[in-house]
């Protein structure tokens, strides 16, 4: 297509803004649905992948009472605060069970929304030497181990590096801000076990008890990695049989619920995209047929002055593709304006892990959506272009007049 014809098409579009914008907005509707829907589904998938990576264990051991006391699934997904405790010897006992390769303890403490604490958050104590789930994540933001009274904060905790936050009157220094995971883990604060013990004592002084019958030293959960070649269910059963008042939960069972919800949301979004696609295609098809009929005289004149059938078809296809390009851009822009500033709202409405894809992927998706819009617009004008190309210029002139 040479520039002469391109400029003719461009003039047609620019000098008939009403017609151009109508077609562009029809395409924009399609682009909005495709881009918006895809970003939501991708964000949910990224959130789930992130959650899987962060849980990173095959089995989690929690006190048997934990399941009734607090939904620990919600602690991971939505960042609800809560705590439960069991004897600190559980990790050692778990390591004695056949098939267990690693057992890393974590201790939870919920701060209060009171004078003693800067913010109400979930505090998670880890043993950096044993931990294989949270420590690799922290290591990406902090090139050393967490020191005593140091904390690393999730990306949604409102505290900057170097800032001091008070937890039960204890001053903790923020030494790292962690990358987003799209899960409840983003709202937590992480410290080592010495800091956690100091915080537990301070909480005790404030009347927040963590005592258990067997002693003062406690943990909340133990993350277990099963040796290669061992059946996870079998190891889980052995742990349940061996450890009293402790429940072994397969992490996959936690993920499965999320995964099922994600599949449901994905299906709904996919069906919506398909419906919008079909609807927009039919509407565009009709619109192009009507517009071409309305422009019969104009095309007859083009034939009169020497335009071939191919030229007319290419002009129609080019104009519709340009409308698709404009509409695709508008649709992607609208979707971005709706999705990105309100991602927190979407996340809380969906109640699922939600992590926006990186900028490169978003740009790729945007480019793909615009290309799809161009293709759909061009495709929907094919019928009109074909019909146009079949008519004799003489007949077209008579019909045009």
């Amino acid at each position: 297509m040479n520039m002469k014809k391109f400029s003719l098409s461009l003039k047609n579009l620019v000098r008939k803004p009403g017609r151009t914008l109508t077609l562009a907005f029809l395409t924009a509707f399609l682009a909005l649905a495709v881009f918006g829907g895809s970003v939501v589904v991708l964000s949910l998938r990224s959130g789930l992948d992130s959650l899987e990576a962060r849980l990173g264990a095959d089995i989690i051991l929690v006190p048997s009472e934990a399941q009734s006391k607090v939904s620990f699934q919600n602690m991971f997904l939505q960042g609800t605060t809560g705590a439960f405790y069991m004897d600190a010897s559980v990790p050692e006992k778990a390591l004695e069970v056949e098939g267990v390769e690693k057992a890393a303890p974590q201790t939870f403490l919920a701060s209060l929304k009171a004078d003693c604490c800067s913010i109400k958050i979930q505090v998670i104590g880890i043993d950096p030497e044993k931990d294989f789930t949270v420590q690799p994540w922290i290591a990406r933001s902090l090139k050393r181990e967490l020191g005593d009274m140091d904390v690393a904060v999730g990306c949604k905790v409102e505290a900057g590096i170097g800032e001091i936050i008070r937890i039960y009157e204890q001053r903790c220094k923020v030494v790292a801000r962690l990358e987003a995971t799209g899960t409840g883990l983003d709202t937590a604060v992480y410290c080592n076990m010495n800091t956690m013990n100091a915080l537990l004592s301070a909480a005790e002084a404030k009347g927040v008890s963590h005592k258990i019958e067997s002693g003062d030293s406690v943990v909340s959960a133990v993350y277990v990695k099963v040796r290669d070649g061992y059946d996870i269910d079998a190891v889980s059963s052995r742990l349940n049989g061996r450890l009293r008042k402790v429940t072994a939960v397969r992490t996959r069972s936690m993920i499965t619920g999320v995964s099922d919800s994600l599949a449901g949301v994905s299906r709904t979004v996919t069906v919506l995209i398909a419906a919008v696609w079909a609807l927009a295609f039919v509407i565009l098809l009709l619109a192009f047929v009507l517009i071409i009929r309305e422009r019969a005289r104009e095309f007859a004149v083009l034939r009169l002055v020497g335009a071939s059938r191919g030229m007319l078809s290419r002009t129609v296809l080019l104009e519709s593709a340009l409308c698709g390009l404009l509409g695709g851009g508008i649709g992607v822009g609208l979707a971005a304006a709706l999705l990105f500033p309100f991602s927190q709202l979407i996340e809380s409405a969906l109640k699922l892990p939600y992590l926006m894809p990186d900028a490169g992927r978003v740009l790729l998706l945007a480019a793909g959506t615009v290309m799809l819009s161009v293709a759909v617009a061009a495709l929907s004008s094919v019928v009109a272009a074909y019909r146009l190309s079949r008519v004799d210029p003489g007949t077209a002139l008579r019909e045009g007049n």
Partner: protein, 224 residues
């Protein structure tokens, strides 16, 4: 260059009536030579426009051949025929024939622009001057009167310096003065530049500019 029609006819299918088709143009043979201006007259519906469209490469006859010099016009594929129309044939159609999104000058230069040929800006300006629409180059068709639009279409056809010029009721929207202006321009174009000109008209005034006159009725050429 001359155009020659060899027993060309146009037949259309018809669902009602006795026969299942009718002739818009009965088989007709004629030739318009370079340097000649031919005028075709006849009542409405007599087949004049259909004949003009067949001669100018716009409508394929159902019978016969149209030759431009030795080239059988309708043996060419659409691409070649379209290019030939753009380069060597100028047509002034009935009714409005402006593209509304282009200016008057852009409309006039369109045939050359479509094929990326050098734009005949100077020729266009001279014809616009001669036909009295010189100040309207940047105007949009919607701003023009019927007579101005008609003259724009005539300039568009003439500005390309076609070997064959076909005009269908070119003076329909014009007053007497502009009618004379246009017809004398056609005559001069044929005689001075040795081009073939074919005019379809109701105007009896046009006959005095013609080298050859054809009359048509019921799809037949009656006499010469």
């Amino acid at each position: 260059m001359a155009v020659k029609a060899e027993s060309i006819a146009k037949r259309y299918f018809r669902k009602t009536g006795g026969a299942n088709y009718f002739y818009a143009v009965q088989p007709v043979s004629l030739e318009i030579a370079a340097g000649e201006i031919a005028v075709l007259t006849g009542r409405s519906g007599s087949g004049k426009t259909t004949l003009l469209h067949m001669l100018s490469g716009l409508l394929k006859p159902t019978e016969g051949k149209v030759r431009i010099d030795e080239t059988d016009l309708y043996s060419l594929d659409d691409r070649a025929l379209s290019r030939l129309r753009s380069e060597r044939i100028g047509v002034v159609p009935q009714g409005r024939s402006a593209i509304d999104t282009l200016t008057v000058l852009e409309n006039i230069l369109l045939p050359a622009k479509l094929y990326g040929r050098p734009l005949p800006v100077e020729g266009a300006r001279q014809w616009m001057e001669r036909l009295g629409i010189a100040p309207l180059g940047d105007a949009r068709p919607a701003e023009l009167s019927g007579g101005e639009l008609r003259r724009m279409a005539i300039v568009r056809a003439l500005a390309q310096s076609p070997d064959l010029l076909f005009a269908d009721e070119p003076t329909g929207d014009l007053d007497d003065e502009n009618t004379r202006l246009v017809l004398s321009a056609f005559q001069a174009y044929a005689h001075e530049q040795k081009k073939a000109v074919f005019v379809v008209t109701h105007e009896n005034d046009a006959l005095q500019y013609a080298d050859t006159v054809y009359q048509m009725d019921g799809g037949r050429i009656l006499d010469r």
